[in-house]
Symmetry: C2
Subunit: 305 residues, 2 copies
């Protein structure tokens, strides 16, 4: 199960009724934040899920509207009594950027462990004791930028035939089924010895700010939720979107369609577009299950049957 | 005339209904901002006075809740088409801090001219073509911190006797009265040749975060409006305020009383104090004209008769 909240839907400038785009995910009581622009901690406060168990902050890129809220959030975390280490992931150069930003937050009472893209050669990040995986993909913006997906895998069903064929003692079945390996009478048993093939997991993809490059189709493929920028809805603004290395609603919808995503939430709306709903049809004509979310919109995603 | 708006009343953390403390002043169509924490540009947007003619940003100190909104505001100013130079004033070290913060706002299309405390040996700042003066005073916080006042002087009344005694040609009177000096038939005439003594100007003082040091009494003396921090209202929290180098309502009220200020607005409330009005009497018992402002509260100050 993954709880997903889109903290804001704005791009470039925080507005009175539109916070900057950022994603908050809850998986088994732990939290992941993607992007943290000015005001994100106010949006987190309104959401009310708490920030104490925030483990990872991922950054798409280093434009102020995606990162300037970091020093304030780190200080608030510190003031809340946090002492646990926090992880930060971002494009190459993020260590230097964070060192620079944190001149105004010098007294953080917990360790910050930062991974740049090149530190994670396989383009993913995984905690040792957590199931979920954070994958990233370099995309095409005016500066280095990453798209992310969060994937929670699901083990296969218990396979009685395998378990009995392999003569696995019955008392080990439930432990193996829970995903742990067992050493028993000098023999090692693995979860796959009692399980069928992995079943579809939950996949949440988040993509801003970029042109709709082809690599995104594979990266986003089969997402339960695809959150994607749509800076403009108006088709006539495509050239402007191209020049600024963004995309318009119809381009996001095409990505959703080609990637066989289940649901598309548009975001990162230009401040020059007061009502994105006026352009919703431009996306729906291509990908029916498109949503113009409101700030703080959240949804629970469970494993498919 | 000075229009004054208190953009927020919060300290430390921006809250859903309480922006961080910052002051916005309008004098003859030009603007001065003091402090710019996370969310200040949202509060400016709500206020609706515009930011195009913002000339000076003053910083009390470099804690995130007073400065982290700067990169976003500078970018928004840039996107609004501004090309005029902007001035920044702050404690020593501010040049380095701003260089660090602006790694996430690398493309600012206007010049930023920064004055540190030591660059302004007289402890004030004045534009060549503007009447108002920005004065500052080092105060006592956990890091270097400045209090500010903005002073708009008022010339004396026209003095007919002086003008005729000094045989000043009648056609020069109005120019001299407007504050300009005149060279006429090889002789220089000064405004003071036709004016009486300066009359009381308008003085707006702003003071956060500090202990109530004695120097503040002189600095704030005879303010039309004294905006002062009161992190806690509860008298029992005085020790906590002392340890954090802040002040409580009664201490701010004592400063207002001793400085013969006309009006006191408390601000920079702790997030642990949901309703500062509960403690208003603690200040009013000492200084009657104390106000607990709401975010965005504004008032016009005109010359006294």
């Amino acid at each position: 199960m993954i709880d997903v909240a889109l903290l804001g839907t704005g791009g470039m400038v925080p507005l009175p009724n539109r916070f900057l785009t950022a994603l908050y995910c809850r998986i088994k009581g732990r939290y992941i934040l993607i992007d943290c622009g000015e005001g994100t901690q106010i949006a987190l406060n309104i959401l009310g899920w708490g920030i104490k168990n925030l483990d990872v902050i991922c950054f798409t890129h280093f434009h102020a509207d995606h990162i300037s809220g970091l020093p304030g959030l780190l200080l608030t975390l510190g003031n809340s009594g946090r002492t646990e280490k926090i992880y930060i992931i971002g494009p190459n150069g993020i260590k230097k950027i964070i060192r620079s930003l944190c001149v105004i937050a010098p007294e953080i009472p917990f360790e910050i462990k930062i991974f740049e893209q090149d530190d994670l050669q396989q383009n993913f990040f995984k905690f040792e004791n957590q199931d979920f995986i954070i994958n990233f993909l370099p995309v095409e913006h005016s500066i280095a930028c990453l798209a992310y997906n969060i994937f929670l895998p699901r083990r296969g069903k218990f396979n009685l035939k395998k378990a009995t064929d392999l003569k696995i003692p019955k008392k080990l079945w439930s432990v193996l089924q829970s995903g742990k390996k067992v050493l028993h009478n000098g023999r090692i048993f693995l979860p796959k010895d009692v399980l069928g093939e992995d079943r579809p997991g939950i996949k949440i993809s988040y993509c801003t700010d970029t042109r709709p490059i082809n690599d995104l189709i594979n990266f986003v493929y089969d997402s339960d939720l695809f959150i994607c920028e749509g800076i403009y809805g108006d088709e006539n603004k495509k050239d402007k979107a191209i020049s600024k290395k963004h995309m318009i609603f119809s381009e996001a919808a095409n990505l959703a369609k080609k990637s066989h995503s289940k649901e598309l939430w548009l975001t990162h709306f230009s401040p020059a577009m007061p009502d994105p709903k006026n352009y919703l049809d431009h996306a729906k004509n291509i990908f029916e299950n498109t949503v113009i979310p409101h700030d703080g919109m959240y949804k629970k995603f469970i494993f498919r049957n």
